[in-house]
Symmetry: C2
């Protein structure tokens, strides 16, 4: 069997409690004894058993993470951020992928609750009621959604949209399209709101298109609608949709950005590799992840939702190749 605290105690010639103290309340033990213990532990290759510790302290040193779909290129970056920050704080992370099934989320929270100190919910799709129930099971932090009085990390979508629209307006676009994502998505509602405000502020015209699924295919499907909408620029709910748009637009012979400017949101790696490279509103994904862990840690230390339990990270427009000056004469025939 593995080497236990008792083996170390024996080897160091002290009691088990001393070994325990040497590993946690380092101040309560004589530095020389401590050194002795640590050396013995090292020698025997002792590593504390977290499960046993958790049993008594009530803290597991684990943290749960639930994402809708790891295959969506947005999430891996967030997960990496969470991972990295969690490791720094000496936490391990349990990962669960719901495969975009909102009804699986609550069950996973409940299953995880016993094994973790807190759970990070990424872009949860569950109902507000389920959210509340989930919050009763464990300490929660939610990313990319707000409501139910749960500590949250969100993106400043409104400002992101403002930047995108200002950019397009500065290029002379007066009639702008927005391809909407899923109706149930909190982010989509925020982005839609942001676009409306920004377009109004620029005194331009907005054409709303969609909703479409937040996938490449959604963009492909929306492209013909965009062409028919007779706009000179279009903002898509996310990069995947924008890329689908670009692909279908090329097939239809529409020149981007010559005839039509396209802006995405997210800045997934693929966007930079595409040609033309996609102009997009970049989201600091890893930073969202780190911030989520930060919030969770803080929540664990001093529970209670307060102003500081919400954190909004900025979005940043990245101008690449799919946006250009609007043709004064409008687009040609296709």
């Amino acid at each position: 069997m593995a080497v236990t605290i008792r083996d170390v105690a024996k080897a160091a010639g002290v009691s088990a409690s001393t070994v325990s103290r040497a590993f946690s309340n380092s101040e309560l033990v004589d530095p020389r004894t401590r050194e002795l213990v640590l050396r013995a532990a090292e020698q025997l290759g002792y590593l504390p058993n977290r499960a046993a510790r958790g049993l008594i302290t009530g803290r597991t040193g684990n943290l749960g993470l639930i994402v809708p779909d790891l295959a969506n290129p947005f999430f891996p970056e967030v997960v990496k951020g969470i991972q990295a920050r969690a490791r720094e704080a000496d936490y391990s992370v349990f990962l669960s992928d719901t495969d975009e099934d909102p009804s699986a989320e609550l069950g996973l929270v409940k299953a995880l609750a016993k094994q973790v100190d807190g759970i990070i919910l990424c872009s949860p799709r569950m109902s507000a009621d389920d959210m509340r129930e989930a919050a009763d099971c464990s300490t929660l932090v939610v990313v990319n959604r707000r409501g139910s009085n749960i500590p949250a990390i969100t993106i400043d979508n409104v400002d992101g949209m403002r930047q995108a629209v200002a950019h397009l307006a500065a290029l002379g676009h007066r009639r702008i399209g927005y391809v909407a994502g899923p109706r149930s998505s909190w982010s989509n509602r925020e982005r839609q709101r942001g676009v409306r405000t920004a377009v109004a502020a620029e005194d331009a015209e907005l054409v709303e298109i969609g909703n479409v699924p937040p996938q490449f295919e959604g963009g492909v499907a929306a492209a013909d609608l965009v062409i028919a909408a007779d706009v000179t620029a279009v903002i898509a709910y996310n990069d995947l949709i924008a890329l689908g748009l670009l692909t279908r637009l090329a097939a239809r012979g529409v020149d981007v950005p010559g005839e039509l400017s396209v802006v995405g949101i997210d800045d997934i790696p693929m966007s930079a590799m595409f040609s033309p490279a996609l102009t997009t509103v970049s989201i600091p994904k890893a930073q969202c992840g780190r911030a989520a862990v930060e919030l969770l840690l803080q929540q664990l230390a001093t529970p209670g939702v307060r102003a500081s339990s919400r954190r909004e990270v900025p979005a940043q427009l990245l101008v690449r190749d799919t946006t250009a000056v609007a043709l004064p004469t409008g687009r040609g025939a296709h």
Copy 2:
């Protein structure tokens, strides 16, 4: 505090052990008593504490997963497969991302070992010595690497390369390039070996280019070498490299597939979205993940490495738009 086995016992009017049995050795308890217990548990919202159970059984019901880089689009799919299969078997999974740091791998294995029943190592970059040491810490299954006598899931790279080369040869290509990935990568060595064999079998000529990092940028960098190599077709170590190749080739004015055919390996989602869509050797990524869990479960049940502890999954050529008949006259000037 949470509801314990004792609370349930009291509520059901039985002893703690009976509750315990009702939840595990369901056959050793009277069906009626069992029903009683389960109902009481349900009522109180009881969920067994896995940590406590693990303490005594020695089995945690957890499994560790270490990947080099979740942002590499190859891994999320594998992770999803692992996740899905693990959940079916009622296992939770600890995820760790090493950020491509080989020296972090062994440490993570050791840290994880105490909390899990077994660990899946995805494409580990560590040395063979470290592998052996890791194997002493925990039950291991490795994906995408072979050696050190550890149960492994691998891809039939050699046959994949055979398919790719046969396809190109059938199209009339006689001089084929291979852009090599990292020298330290087991997969790269396998693929290289496969290409050599296949090209020889087709009586064609092979030009080896690289090694380059397995990233988009690696492909961008390799493109000029490929042009200079004067081949009519090129196979890249992975899709990311192939995509970088495509991008730089377009910038250099080389028509794909008109002047040069390109084949990737992996079939990452991006490959299908690119234009032209990339011909690639597809790897059943989720299936690799599932198979890895399968192997681990089997290993946990009956330890010992034997013939059945290795499983090789097939690769499958996907012909898309980047491969075409070689011009009989060779390529034009660039």
